[in-house]
């Protein structure tokens, strides 16, 4: 997280710390599902056949502490079918579900996040929070969970920003961008898979609207997030019962 601050216990109780092809994040859904980014499990530009163990940790804001809490064995990994690992410039369908072997017992430090049910969560300027154990502005991975507040940016600004940088990256309808070019605040490597959450005042709850997916450098402008609203049906289908 760039330009953010340390989270306190209980701020982001859904935050998962994953270690697959490196450090990543995730979010607890229900009491036995982890939502994360497909590229943390199937990284681009890596030999598709490398099989890495998937470690998932929950329930703390400190990396050492959270790893002491023993990882949660994963029963099943479900990658979204539209995700293209081999296409480095396309993070379409960058979403995945990890089904845990056992349900977790919830508590003040371990709670699930809600899924979006409304387009209003994507209105330009809506401020959300992104949390993660990723690289900070000092270019160091964090020992503690950090978070930053970011506004949802106007799509056109992000598109023109990408064009100015002469980028070929796909910015599809299934993504949104957040951040502010005037501020060095952003998510960064190591935060992937974590969620962008907003406060749903109407229902007094926090809702995940995006998944940390990709960006151009960190803190230089906008970050790009998987638009969860477009995958809620898929998620529910895969989770079936919940």
């Amino acid at each position: 997280i760039i330009g953010g601050q340390k989270a306190k216990m209980g701020n982001f109780p859904w935050q998962a710390f994953t270690n697959v092809h490196g450090r990543g994040g995730g979010a607890l859904l229900g009491d036995r599902w982890i939502l994360t980014a497909a590229h943390t499990l199937r990284p681009k530009e890596v030999d598709a056949h490398t099989n890495a163990t998937v470690d998932v940790f929950l329930g703390h804001t400190n990396v050492e502490e959270i790893m002491k809490l023993a990882n949660h064995p994963v029963r099943r990994v479900i990658i979204h079918p539209e995700y293209r690992q081999e296409d480095s410039n396309n993070f379409e369908g960058d979403i995945a579900l990890l089904e845990l072997e056992n349900s977790v017992t919830l508590g003040p430090s371990l709670l699930p996040i809600c899924l979006p049910d409304n387009e209003t969560f994507y209105e330009t300027g809506l401020v959300g929070y992104v949390s993660g154990f990723g690289i900070t502005e000092e270019q160091k991975i964090s020992h503690d969970l950090r978070f930053v507040r970011l506004p949802v940016a106007r799509r056109e600004l992000c598109e023109s920003w990408l064009r100015r940088k002469d980028r070929k990256d796909v910015f599809s309808e299934n993504m949104f961008c957040a951040g502010d070019t005037t501020r060095k605040q952003d998510s960064c490597q190591g935060d992937s898979g974590g969620v962008f959450v907003v406060r749903d005042k109407k229902n007094d709850r926090w809702v995940a609207t995006g998944i940390v997916s990709w960006g151009i450098e960190c803190g230089q402008g906008y970050g790009f997030y998987t638009k969860l609203l477009n995958y809620v049906d898929w998620i529910k289908k895969e989770m079936q019962e919940e």
Binding site: A7, M9, D31, S103, L106, P108, L111, F147, D200
Partner: protein
């Protein structure tokens, strides 16, 4: 003489019948039927020369050394002595029929031809017993000492109950050593009652009825058994045993009162000495279906279905429990209970108890818990618990707008199961509550 084969019936005719019979002829037909039968004879046709006193032609019937008649003439004619339709009956099993004709059958110088006769006889059973109906039992002429039974062709003797036919097949000797009575009711009396009983008796009257019945004895008047002022029954004794156990010994003139033997097997032993003229005893025995004690519940939760005022052998009762209680026999839970009244008047099973249904420790609720709304720790019928989820992290799943309190309320039912009114046995579900950090990020500075 012509003996007939011992047939049971036949015909006798005059020679050449129905052609005219010959003159100067005499024959005697001996009609014999089997012993034990008598001969009955009747003329169907009769046409002989009539004469005063049937001097010329005649038929003579005789039996048992007596002449039964001498006949001539024609049926329906006043001349001579025709036999008409008279039936002739012998005493014994023989009858003689003599047919005699003189040298001619002339009337006023004219020969008259007579057809003769056709007689039909049959064997008729001899009722040997008839003779003894009015002769006193002890008279020697009596065919049978006690009972005479006539049957076709003969008879046989039998004896009154308590006597046995002797080898002579006519006299009876008291034999009452194994009189068996199996009917549900009946009469038993000393021999010859109400006349004095014979001496030197060793009688055993056994009453055996089916199990489950008890024999009741009721003595009738007169009741007389030789006794002694000082010594108890030294001469004759009537002993009563029930199921092999001696319950009483009687003598004297005091009729015993009603006796409920409580058994389905009673023996009456009656011993007499060589003298005495007491008139003996007679009883009417009846049976009652054995009764079982009125069933009584052991607690206030047991119900006896359709309680009867009285229970007899083979009756049964069904015990159930009030709702929420469980039939218990010993330590075993029963689904139902039936007790049958046995043939010895006892119930085949002891009364059960009813223990309150215990639903057992309520199941733990994943991510939730429960509290008792009735006495803590008591899990019996009508106990109530309230499940709740570990809020704020979990929330109870409800349907149809029901409250969590309604959904979480479980009662220990009469079936011994914790049940929710709406969802039955199914436990509620505590679903994770999403998006509610207990310590959400806060921003003060603006």
């Amino acid at each position: 003489s012509i003996p007939t084969r011992q047939k049971l019936f036949g015909e006798v005719t005059s020679p050449l019948y129905p052609k005219p019979y010959p003159n100067n002829f005499e024959t005697t037909t001996v009609i014999t039927v089997p012993v034990g039968y008598r001969v009955k004879l009747v003329f169907w046709q009769f046409d002989l020369e009539p004469s005063e006193g049937c001097f010329y032609d005649y038929v003579k019937i005789s039996a048992d050394k007596k002449t039964l008649g001498r006949f001539c003439g024609q049926l329906g004619s006043p001349l001579g002595n025709p036999p008409g339709k008279k039936e002739f009956m012998s005493q014994g099993n023989k009858m003689l029929l003599t047919f005699h004709t003189d040298f001619s059958n002339e009337e006023n110088g004219t020969i008259v031809f007579y057809k003769g006769f056709l007689a039909y006889y049959q064997a008729v059973d001899l009722d040997e017993c008839a003779s003894q109906h009015n002769s006193p039992e002890e008279s020697p002429q009596r065919l049978c000492q006690h009972l005479c039974h006539n049957y076709l062709g003969s008879y046989f003797c039998s004896c009154r109950p308590g006597y046995e036919l002797q080898k002579d097949r006519r006299s009876c000797q008291a034999e009452c050593s194994s009189e068996l009575f199996t009917e549900p009711s009946g009469y038993i009396s000393s021999l010859e009652y109400p006349r004095p009983y014979p001496p030197d008796l060793r009688c055993n009257y056994s009453i055996r009825v089916e199990r489950g019945l008890t024999i009741q004895l009721k003595f009738l008047e007169p009741f007389e058994i030789d006794d002694h002022q000082q010594v108890h029954c030294p001469y004759d004794q009537l002993q009563i045993y029930a199921s092999g156990r001696n319950i009483r010994e009687f003598c004297g003139r005091q009729r015993p009162s009603h006796i409920d033997t409580g058994s389905n097997a009673v023996d009456l032993l009656f011993f007499t000495d060589e003298s005495g003229d007491s008139r003996g005893w007679k009883l009417h025995y009846t049976t009652e279906v054995i009764k079982c004690p009125q069933p009584k519940t052991l607690d206030m939760f047991t119900i006896i279905q359709d309680l009867q005022p009285q229970y007899e052998f083979r009756d049964y009762f069904i015990a159930t429990c009030k709702q929420g209680y469980q039939l218990i026999e010993g330590n075993e839970a029963l689904l139902s209970f039936t007790a049958v009244c046995q043939d010895d008047g006892t119930w085949h099973r002891a009364m059960p108890r009813c223990r309150i249904k215990d639903c057992g420790q309520p199941r733990s609720l994943p991510n939730g818990a429960f509290s008792y709304t009735t006495t803590v720790g008591v899990n019996t019928y009508q106990a109530r618990i309230q499940y709740y989820c570990r809020e704020p992290y979990y929330k109870m799943q409800t349907r149809g707008g029901r409250s969590e309190a309604e959904r979480g309320l479980y009662t220990c039912t009469a079936q011994g199961i914790w049940k929710n009114e709406l969802e039955g046995e199914k436990l509620p579900r505590c679903l994770p509550v999403c998006g509610k950090p207990v310590n959400p990020v806060e921003q003060k500075q603006r």
